[in-house]
Amino acid sequence: MIARLAGLAFLASTTALAAQDAGTLALYNWGDYINPEVLQRFTEETGIEVTLDTYSSNEEMLAKIQAGATGYDIVFPSVHMQDIMLQLGLLERTGINESPSFANIDPAFLRSSQDPNGEYCLPYAWGTVGIYYNEDVTGPIAGWEDFFAIPERTGGKISLLDDMREVMAIGLIMTGASVNSADPAEIQAATDYILSHKEDVTAFTYESMALMSSGDLAAAHFFVGGNVFFTETPNIKYVIPAEGGTMYQENICVLASAPNKEAAMRFLEFYLQPEIAALNVAQQFNGTPNVPANELTPEFIQGNPNINVPPETMERLQIFEDLGAALRAYDRAWNTIRTVQ
């Protein structure tokens, strides 16, 4: 009995030691939103073991953290979700902006209204939502007007994302409103715009990239990350619409309840290195706020102005903010769009 107890105590002390030596880090991220090689490199460099769990929407993650789920160290909220989480006191102040390498970060990406100096979170990655088109079928496409004209002009099929905010954004952009408008008249005008083109739209779907490469769709509304499928098909192009498009951005935040704050801090520092940010871009095909990293990305990404976006294009991109009470009006509009015959 005593021997067994001693054995247990020994086991406990060695595991405690091992944990102290290297430590662990628990990431909670969107599905497939980080290059596994980045995590491997982090473990090799620091000895810290990383676990990765995934979620599929901001709201899902918030619901879980807000209810008090602990054990996670780092989350990757979108900018508007970071604001909400800061107001709820769920995030830890990291002081990452005092790190010397923070100079790598383009200050334009400090978008959080609650955290304008980056005292809490590190801008992680961003991307655009635009139009994929099969040039053999559609000819050159510049923006939404060309996009919606495709079915009548060429007989090709087009699809939109099955996403309320993204689809409403097209209507709002085309009627000259902000994608975060709370004005009922503007929301109505946007709804009418989408409805007037609804019969041209074959499907509202996330599965459009497979249908693009099989030739079933002539054009589709999708995230920039879809380019990963079309590096060897020059006839399929991606464009950020001339009239304007939307963008998304996620930041790396440390939770106030994080059990391994030190390890989390080391991850933020680690991710500030341009090589690491570039390694992530090479697999994710989205943008990085890390300026020197943009020099290190593969040619396909670096040379494409629709992926590696120049400043003048940035000006026609809008980012989603939390809608507050106006969400209801969007919900109603979206229901109308999806159900009307």
Binding site: A26, Y28, W30, T54, A63, A69, Y206, Q283
Partner: protein, 278 residues
């Protein structure tokens, strides 16, 4: 004439029924051999790479990784499968034993609060998953229990016990109590009666309950999502998280292997049953 028409309609309905049930499974099996790494709908040639990768045999899909299209996260997928199997095996064992014992206690004994108890048992089954999920999460947080695989197992047991109970209880209701009385009259102890008389008759019900518990535990998404801790992502949660990037080809290979395992288990169950009745 009328009956011939009736037969024709019935046949069509039956055929359609099987097509809708089995065609998707067939598609998964076929695409699990498709070499195309990004678009499983386009046939790109036959390959065993996805199986090889999953089973850790040799280099997996070298030409694929050269194309840089393909997101290598097989290790995460395997970890998710391992988590799902661990949870399903543990919950099946626990809920089968507890569910069967509960059904026996409620059927063979009279005690205070029996009605309330049997009604309360059905409640977790009727509750929407999201309510149960959030409720369990808040409960675990309140009592200070760290979320982990263990909390998933406890969470699953809360409602799977009800399923097992319901199935075993239905089987019990059809049994003749005279057999047990006869066994007791002949001097068998309660334990012997249970082993020699009750258990053989209940076996199909218990097996059915266990299989159902295993399957429900394997594919539960909503409840699991809320009560999973760090490093305990299960297969359904993992697949759901991939929605923005599209489903990986290995998923088809995993699904095919799971289908194969289910067929084997079902065949074994049927064989055991047919042997019993002989």
């Amino acid at each position: 004439m009328q009956s011939r028409l009736g037969w024709a309609v019935l046949t069509i309905v039956a055929v359609l029924f099987f097509v809708f049930i089995y065609a998707p499974l067939l598609v998964i099996v076929v695409t699990s051999f498709n070499a195309n790494p990004v678009n499983m709908l386009i046939w790109d040639g036959f390959t065993l790479d996805w199986y090889r990768g999953l089973l850790g045999l040799g280099e997996r899909a070298t030409d694929v990784s050269n194309r840089a299209l393909y997101i290598e996260s097989t290790d995460q997928l395997l970890a998710a499968v391992r988590n799902s199997l661990t949870v399903a095996a543990a919950t099946t064992a626990i809920s089968t034993v507890v569910g069967t014992a509960t059904a026996l206690a409620l059927a063979r004994h009279r005690f205070k609060g029996r009605g309330v108890y049997s009604g309360g048992l059905l409640l977790p089954m009727m509750m929407p998953d999201i309510v149960l999920g959030i409720g369990l999460l808040i409960f675990f947080v309140t009592i200070g229990m760290q979320l982990s695989l263990l909390t998933i197992i406890i969470g699953h047991c809360t409602f799977l016990i009800s399923y097992v109970y319901l199935i075993v209880q239905a089987r019990l209701a059809g049994l003749d109590p005279a057999l047990e009385e006869a066994s007791a009259d002949l001097g068998a102890s309660e334990w012997t009666t249970f082993r020699k008389v009750l258990l053989p008759q209940l076996a199909p019900g218990i097996l059915g309950g266990a299989l159902l518990a295993f399957v429900i535990s394997m594919d539960d998404l909503v409840i699991t999502y809320f009560i999973a801790g760090t490093g305990s992502t299960t297969l359904p949660v993992y697949i759901f998280g991939m929605i923005r990037r599209g489903v990986k080809p290995e998923i088809n290979a995993i699904a095919t292997m799971i289908i194969l395992a289910s067929i084997l288990i079902a065949a074994l169950g049927l064989w055991l049953r047919s042997r019993k009745t002989d």
